[in-house]
Every structure is written in C-alpha cells, then in structure tokens.
Symmetry: C2
C-alpha cells in the first residue's frame, strides 16, 4: 500500500530497556504529596506502610531520568510487547484526509489495556520485597484484571475490591480476575471496618471508587505482608507507562516520522503520561514543535473545568493530598460509560505540564465518542474501549480539519484498549439511549467547596 507498513514492528534491539522519568526534564516539578494531617510533604517512611519500598523511591524521585527495567519485567513484556504502532491507512482513506494518522495499540493482551505495563512492575517490586500479596480497588475492571494477571505470574496473592455496582453489572470482568486467581470482593463489604461503617450508614449503597480505595488501603495496612497498589494518577505509574511512549518514539524514528499532534485520553493520566513522555521531553527542550492534547469526557472535565489545587485523592479522604487539576473529591460524575475516565482529579505531573502550557486539553461528549468508536471499528477492525475512543474522536476531528485545510499533518494517538467488556454501552448507543450528562456550574462549584485548605 505504501512505503510505511501498516504496522511498524520493533526489533528486539530497539525495545526500551529503561523507563523514562519525565519529571527529570520538567521545568517546574510536580508538587509533592502532602500528609493530610501535617500538610507537610510525605516522606518515604510515612508511605512505607501503604506502598512497596522501591515504588516509593520511584514515586518521590524527580531527578533520575532513566530507571532500568528489571529483566523479569522485560521477560513478561515479551508476552505482549512491543505493542504495534499502526498506520491508520483505512481510516485516512475513509476520511479522505491528507493527514497521516498513527495509533499505538495497547489492547492486544488479555487485560485489554495498557494497565498491564504498570501492574507487572508493581507486582514485581512487591514480590522482590518478599510480600505475600497486594490489595487494590477497581471500578470498570481494567486495572483489577491487569493486576490479577501480574500477581498470578509472580505467584502473589491479589485482593481486589470492586465497586459493588460494577461487580454486579460486569460479572465477566470478575470471572477473568478469578481465572487469574484473584479474590474479588464487592465493595463496600463486611471484610473491613470502613466497609461495615458505610454499610451501616447506607445499607443499600452500590459503592464507589472512593470507598473501595479505603477498603483496599485498610486491608493492606492491617494485614502483615501486604501493600496497596494503584493503577493511575501516581508518578510511579506514569514512569512505568513511559514504555508506551518510548516504543512509539522508536517506531516513528525508524521511518523518520515527526509527529505534529499527539492525542491521548486522560482519566487519571496513566496512558497519556506514558504515551507523551519522550515527546514532551523534546518539546520542553525545544527540539520538537508538536501539539499534545489531553481528551477528557464532558461529564468529568478535570482539566477543562477543574481547579489546580491540593485535593484528596480518594473520596474517603484517607490518602495523601495531591496538587492537581480537580473537580473536588466529592464530585460524582454522571454514569458515563468510560469508567476509566471518571476520576475527579488528574496526575500531578500532567497537571503541572498543563498549568505550564505544554499540554492542551479538550472535552468531548459521549455520543460523539461512540460515533467515532463505531466509525473506527468498521474501517480499522478493532472494537475500541470507550476510554480510548475519546482520543479517536479528537484524532478524527483533527484529520477532518486537515482535509479542509489541505495540511498533511502527522497525528499520533493512543489506543489504550479494547471494548469487549463495554458492550452494554455500545448497546445503549445503538438503541439511541445514550446521553451526555454534563455537570452544571453550580454542581462544580459545590464539589470544589470541599477542597482542603493548604497554604
């Protein structure tokens, strides 16, 4: 079809052997996590009861540019990496655009998304520390699935607290986790003090991510040999996810391609932060003239309508405070089907880059997102996850702009995962029953009133 193949493969010698820590190149470093009691920066020893030692080191290190990827993790990456960088020839043709579109596809593994990149790293360090197991929460289930796979590989116990409404509505995700030997508990549950308290106060509750986090943290800190792990937002997660961007960079360089626009969906920021890492480095250094765009749902618009401030990471307000673009930890997004994008805050790294003007952000509605998803599926053959489809929407819009202006821009976007477990949402879309629920100004004002006071 053309000189550049449909899929750009990397040879073994071209694969990343170290993660890249974007913080090392940032002009303004991301603000530190604060102790919610003292409001002072969290020290390693304060984090040690919750997180694994090596991961704390990675979390707090703003200076080391490269962290070598341990051989055991490289071995595991072989199962599903390098992920393909695909030239979207079929989509370009369907759109009649002179733009050149590429996507980095992270969905070709059983967890169905990029989450596995960090899950295997976190499981590895837990195992190395001699732990018996880890705990976590999951909403839509992508993270829980990825962590189950990783823990199974390293023979670690894995306790997943799954928001009760998802546990009941997404039994298939639960079964994948069980296949990998994880125990999955609907949250709130009677296995924790916080769970009992919430069930006592709200007997009929279907749970929330904030509550599931609180239960997972409680179990991790009370059970000898356990720690808590998290699939997004944290600096360490973006570090691990840099493997996405490094592979993308290597594939583009192979054919001497320079991106003009890079697009990724943004919930907590794990995918976007990983995809853009090396390109943002070059942009900061003045070596790359490139727009970098975060796409979020109109129903949960942290960047585009939030405030840059210290806030709680969880609804239960037990975790450290992070400075981030936030809608307030009490913000409850409407039931948007892109479960992975329903977080009230945003990675501190990305928040700082956005505040410094290196990163753009835009928000899109759910119906237009599914229209893009269906159009993409029909021509490119991949059924995308709703989260990923936010990036597809904006990539298509930019490509259409190129058709109108005649510009041959190179557009790269992150296709984070597949939508095999999101077909209830597709069904709603097909039946014309999907709608956007956009928060009013008054609602946002109310949830932002609860921000903690930090000088």
């Amino acid at each position: 079809m053309a000189q550049i193949p449909y899929k750009i493969y990397l040879d073994e010698s071209e694969l990343p052997r170290a993660w890249y820590n974007l913080r090392a190149d940032m002009v303004n470093k991301p603000a530190p996590l604060l102790n919610p009691g003292t409001l002072k920066p969290m020290q390693a020893e304060e984090l040690a009861p919750v997180f694994c030692e090596e991961l704390i080191r990675q979390e707090l290190d703003n200076d080391t540019a490269y962290f070598e990827i341990p051989q055991e993790i490289l071995d595991f990456y072989q199962m599903y990496r390098p992920s393909p960088l695909v030239r979207a020839y079929f989509l370009e043709k369907a759109l009649g655009t002179p733009a050149k579109i590429y996507y980095k596809f992270e969905g070709n593994n059983t967890s169905g998304s990029h989450k596995l990149n960090s899950a295997i790293a976190q499981a590895y360090y837990a195992k190395k520390q001699g732990l018996a197991g880890v705990t976590t929460e999951t909403g839509a289930g992508q993270w829980g699935t990825a962590l189950s796979m990783a823990c199974s590989y390293f023979d670690l116990d894995c306790k997943v607290y799954m928001v009760k409404v998802s546990y009941e509505q997404k039994p298939f995700r639960r079964e994948v986790m069980r296949t990998y030997g994880a125990s999955v508990t609907p949250s709130p549950s009677l296995t924790t003090e916080i769970g009992k308290k919430i069930l006592n106060e709200h007997p009929g509750t279907t749970g929330s991510l904030g509550c599931a986090i609180s239960e997972a943290v409680e179990v991790a800190t009370k059970t000898p040999g356990y720690r808590y792990v998290l699939g997004s937002v944290l600096n360490q997660v973006l570090l691990h996810q840099s493997v996405i961007g490094l592979e993308t960079e290597a594939a583009l360089k192979k054919y001497d391609i320079k991106p003009d626009i890079i697009i990724g969906c943004a919930g907590g920021g794990s995918n976007l932060g990983g995809l853009i890492a090396p390109f943002m480095r070059d942009k900061i250094r003045g070596k790359l003239d490139c727009r970098i765009i975060a796409v979020e749902p109109k129903s949960c618009p942290s960047f585009t309508r939030g405030t840059y401030a210290y806030d709680f990471c969880d609804t239960g307000m037990v975790c450290p405070l992070a400075k981030m673009y936030t809608l307030g930890s009490s913000f409850i997004p409407s039931p948007n089907h892109a479960g992975g994008l329903r977080y009230h805050g945003m990675s501190s790294i990305l928040s700082q880059l956005y505040d410094d003007g290196y990163l753009e952000a835009t928000s899109v509605g759910q119906v237009e997102v599914f229209q893009a998803a269906e159009q993409f599926a029909r021509v490119e053959g991949i059924l995308p996850a709703p989260e990923s489809s936010h990036a597809i929407r904006v990539a298509i819009d930019e490509a259409i702009r190129c058709r109108e202006s005649g510009e041959e821009k190179t557009i790269v976007f992150g296709l984070t995962g597949t939508g095999y477990f999101d077909l209830v949402a597709y069904e709603k879309f097909h039946d014309g029953k999907m709608e956007d629920q956009i928060p009013t100004d008054a609602e946002l004002e109310a949830s932002l009133k609860n921000l903690p006071r930090v000088e």
Copy 2:
C-alpha cells in the same frame, strides 16, 4: 531468554500470497457433495442459487494446488496478519518439560478468532460478483462477528440468523455485530417460511443451528442479489484457512524447526484443516514424519465415535449431502460450552484424511479442558476460547509425556481464539458447576439411524 524469540514475526516478503488447496495432494480425494434429491454429485449450476460463483469454483476444484489471494484480501489481512507464532516458554517452564511448544495465535482481531480469514474472502467474492449482501447463521457468534466485520469492510449487507438461545444469552456478541452494521435476527423467526413453520409447530423453541441454516438459505435464495455463506466444513473454507498453516510453516522454517506433533481442535474442521494443510502435504509426500491430531469434545465426538458416511449438513435436511464422519444430523450435543465444536459432522477433507490414516483424533472432557485453559491463561497471559482449549489440553498432555520420557519433541498447536465472550462458561467452571455430558451408545445409535441411504 533463548535464541528463538518469544514471538516469531514474518517479514512482508515471507507472507503467503496464495492459499494452498490440500485436495490437490490428497491420495484419495474427498467425496463430492451430492444432490439430496438425485444423489448425484452437485454441479456448479445447482449450487449457483445458494453460493457465490467463484466460491463454487473453489469448492469443486480438487486439482489446483494454489489459489492466488486477491490484493484486496491481502490488504485486509494486513490489519491483523501475520498472526504470531508464539514459543510457549512460560508454559514449558511451568510444566517442566523438555518439549518445545509453539502456538499459532489467531485471536488478535476483534472477531476474536480465525474465522475472519475466510469471512473476508467470502465477502470479497460476493462483492466482486456484484451482490447486495449475504446471509448466514451463527451459534456461538464467532462466525457471525467475523462475517459482519468483513461485510462492513466491503460495504455489503449482512443478515445473520442467530440461534435464539444464543441471541438471548450472548447479547454482547450481538452488539459487536450491530457495531459492524449487520442485522441480527433470533432464529427461528417470522421472517421466513421455515421459521414460521417451526414456530407454529414448536411455539416455545429456543432454536437450533440447523434451523438457523435453513432460514439463512431461504432468505439467500429468495432475495435477489443475495447468497448464503458458511464459516466451516466446506472445502472453500479450509482453502482460505490454509493461510494459518502457511504462515506457521514459514515461521518454523525461518528457524529450521520441524514439528513432531501438530494439534488442533476440530468442530467443522476450518481451523484444523487450515493449520495442518502444508504439513499434511509434506506428510502425504513422505517428507515429514509428524503426528497430526484432531481434538474434539467428548460430548460431540464425530471422529472418535461417529460413522464415515453420507449425511445431511443441516438438521433441516435442505443442504447437499456430504460424506463425512458424522453422529447423524439429528444428533443434539449436550450444552457443551465450546459452541464452535458442537457440529454433528466434520469436513469431508479431514474425514477422508482420517479414514486414510494420516490424521489421528482424540476426545477430551469439558472440565479437563477448562483446567488446561486456566493453566495456560495464567502463564501465557492469553484467556483462551473453550474451543481452542481443547488443543491446549492435548498439547499439555503430550508435553507432560515428554517430561516423563525425556523426549525433546516439538509440539505445535492452533490457538484459534480468545474467550472474552465465554465467561459464563468460565464462571461455571470456577463455581464447580461444570460437567461433561457424554452421549450413550444408545443415543448415538439412534441418531445414526437417520442417515440417508446412499449406495
């Protein structure tokens, strides 16, 4: 980890550009399809109202060894081919076997299986003939999904008759088909004469594959510009599926690997026939000393307990007669979850090869299949389809035999697809509610009584 990479990739120059027709090398050709009325071999003109012209030519040609793959199909194959040939290092290690295990993984496309290889070919020839659309039936949904994707690509209308019980129990499969623009009708339906007749006689019926075939054929023959297409059993389908075997052969040759045992699951025979095609050619020619094993479920044991005879291909007895290993067209297999393996008969090509002693067959129980599936998922990171897991079971058993004997055999098996839409079955397995239902001798005797009388 070793000299042979975890995944063997093929360069563009190494990709097959022609399908291989195993019939050309068979010592005894497969028996021809017979007209159910005259009991004489079906001629092309008799098949023309039902099938596409070019596909009839492929169906009836026992002599041409290679059919060039049209460029349009090669373009589409680029989306998801070559599929990886994976060295199962992790599984080998877990089993502690000196055997070298490889699997050809066909699940990395949205249809989730190898079915897309033939679906795109059949859609292409329908489009080339100037047809408006095609009809088909689907049980578990893999074939219907693949055909929907293929028709969407060539802008063909696609009418899928889905067995009612599956339509209701597998709404997600249905939604994927709808995403690709197919119309999906639960069968039996009021849209056909045969459907009305069956609903009148059995008002509460949940349908059957045989009935869905009859409805799809009726609509194809009564609607101008439509033909009927089928995803397995037929010679043409095995021809298209030879792309699996040809890629496998190319990948093995690249590292000078000779297989000692090749294993594939067998329902109608589309995957097995495709995988083994070039290896069977070499075996027939005396150039390869290799065991080739078909694996079927104990609940539907066409090879191991069936009879080699002419039989109806459908329960409605409207299609041509095929000579095959069969359990009788009235045989109703127990609700085994490997829906793709619940066919009463078997490809005529494979049946002849089995009768001639070139092919072995074995049957396995459902519980042991899911045990193998879970073991495989945990170490190799892929959640396999129940159908594919039949091959995994036997590959693991052979590898364990090598551990006991110390033999370093090379085992190659076909991993036809993923199990993302089979999690109800996984759930039953996890909950200990799965059991095998093996037909009694009396049951088989009864269903074999209805074989048509052909001299």
